[in-house]
C-alpha cells in the first residue's frame, strides 16, 4: 500500500549517482576479495591447480573482466577520496571542482605517458 502510494523521487543527479556507484563498486569488490584470496591460497596448497587457473585467466573474456575489476577498484578508490574531500575539507564547491579537475587532468596526462612507456 505505502509502496504504491508514494512515487519514488527523481534521483538522477550526480551526487546520488556517485553514491550508488561507490556502494555498488564496494559491494562488488567485497564479493571479489574472498574469491581472490581463495585462488591465491592455491599457491601454497595446490600449485598445479593455480597454474591451470592462470592458464584459464589468459582468455580474452577473463582479461576483459579484469578490466572491469580495475575499473571498480579505481571508481571505489576515487569515490572514497571524493567522500573524504566532501566531508572533511571545508572548501567551497568551485574549489573542490577545480581540485577534482586538476587531479583528473594529472591522471590523464600521466596515464597517457605511462601507456607510451610500457
Amino acid at each position: 500500500m505505502a509502496g504504491e502510494r508514494r512515487v519514488r523521487p527523481g534521483r538522477a543527479h550526480p551526487l546520488w549517482l556517485a553514491f550508488v556507484l561507490h556502494r555498488v563498486s564496494g559491494l562488488a569488490l567485497a564479493l571479489f576479495l574472498p574469491l581472490h584470496f581463495w585462488v591465491l591460497s592455491y599457491a601454497l596448497t595446490a600449485p598445479d591447480q593455480l597454474d591451470e587457473f592462470l592458464l584459464f585467466a589468459e582468455q580474452p573474456l577473463v582479461k576483459f573482466a579484469e578490466f572491469g575489476l580495475v575499473f571498480l577498484l579505481a571508481v571505489h578508490a576515487f569515490g572514497g577520496l571524493r567522500l573524504m574531500a566532501l566531508e572533511w575539507l571545508p572548501w567551497s564547491a568551485p574549489q573542490k571542482t577545480l581540485a577534482a579537475g586538476a587531479v583528473g587532468a594529472a591522471l590523464f596526462l600521466s596515464g597517457t605517458f605511462f601507456l607510451q612507456v610500457i
Binding site: 508514494r6 512515487v7 523521487p9 543527479h13 551526487l15 546520488w16
Partner: protein
C-alpha cells in the same frame, strides 16, 4: 498569438493514512500556471473535497510542498510547463511523512526532529545586557548565514533516502538548523547541539547522497552543513580522548 494548449492530464493522490489511490483530473492549461494553481483549480472547479495545504503562494511560508512527477517541489513556485511529462503531471503528498488526507501530510515528525536536533534558539545574553556586535564577514557568521533562509518546507526531508531507511534520522533540515546555531555567536547551547547531532539518528547517518542540496528550492546546501557537523563532532570526539 500563442496557440491554445491542450488540457492537462493531472493525477492526484486521494486518500488518508490508511490508504488511497491516484485520481485523474482534466485541468485547463493557463498561462504562467503553477502546480499550486492546478491543485487549486481542481479543488475549486472539480472536487471541493480535495485537501491540500498552502498559505503565502510566493515561496516564503514553506507549506505547499508536494511530490510532483516524483520529485519534491514547492508547488507555488513550480511552473507546470517546466515539469510536464507529455501532458501529464502526477501530484502526491510529500514522501517520508504520514499522510493526513490527500496532499496534506502530518509535519509533526519533521518539526519534532527540528527541536530534537537542538534547533530552538537559546540566547547567550538577556535583553538587559548590551548587544554584542556581530561582524557579518566573520567566517562563523558567514557559515551561519548560509542556512538561515530555510523555510522548513520539508522538501529535503522528503527527498532524503536516509530518512526513508531510518525513521530516527533527524534529516537535512533539522541538522542544517543545528549547524546554523552551532556557528551563531549569540546561541548558548553548543554542548546540547553536539549531543543531539552526534547520537543515534544524528549527522553521522548521512550518506552524502546530496538529494537535499539538489532539491532545495532556496538553493541551500544542507549536505555541506551536515558535513560541517560531522567534522566538528569528530574533532570534539578526538579532543576528548575518544570518549
Amino acid at each position: 498569438m500563442p496557440e491554445p494548449l491542450d488540457d492537462l492530464d493531472v493525477s492526484v493522490w486521494r486518500g488518508t493514512a490508511s490508504g488511497g489511490a491516484y485520481q485523474s483530473f482534466v485541468v485547463p492549461t493557463m498561462e504562467s500556471q503553477t502546480i499550486l494553481d492546478v491543485v487549486s483549480w481542481i479543488q475549486q472547479y472539480a472536487d471541493p473535497t480535495l485537501t491540500y495545504r498552502f498559505a503565502c503562494r510566493v515561496g516564503m511560508c514553506g507549506s505547499c510542498a508536494m511530490m510532483v512527477n516524483g520529485r519534491p517541489r514547492w508547488t507555488c513556485r513550480t511552473h507546470v510547463r517546466k515539469v510536464l511529462q507529455g501532458r501529464k503531471v502526477q501530484i502526491g503528498p510529500l514522501r517520508n511523512l504520514p499522510v493526513i488526507k490527500d496532499l496534506a501530510t502530518d509535519m509533526d515528525p519533521f518539526f519534532d526532529k527540528w527541536v530534537a536536533a537542538g534547533g530552538a534558539h537559546r540566547p547567550s545574553a538577556t535583553r538587559h545586557e548590551p548587544i554584542p556586535p556581530v561582524d557579518p564577514a566573520q567566517p562563523a557568521r558567514v557559515t551561519a548565514s548560509a542556512g538561515i533562509e530555510c523555510i522548513n518546507c520539508a522538501i529535503c526531508y522528503a527527498g532524503c533516502d536516509t530518512v526513508t531507511g531510518n525513521s530516527d534520522y533527524l534529516g537535512p533540515a533539522a541538522l542544517q538548523r543545528a549547524w546554523t546555531l552551532l556557528n551563531d555567536a549569540k546561541h548558548d547551547g553548543r554542548a546540547a547541539i553536539f549531543d543531539a547531532v552526534s547520537g543515534h539518528g544524528g549527522c553521522h547517518n548521512c550518506h552524502s547522497m546530496g538529494s537535499c542540496t539538489a532539491f532545495c528550492p532556496n538553493d541551500l546546501d544542507p549536505m555541506s552543513a551536515i558535513a560541517g557537523l560531522k567534522r566538528e563532532t569528530a574533532k570534539r570526539f578526538w579532543r576528548r580522548g575518544g570518549s
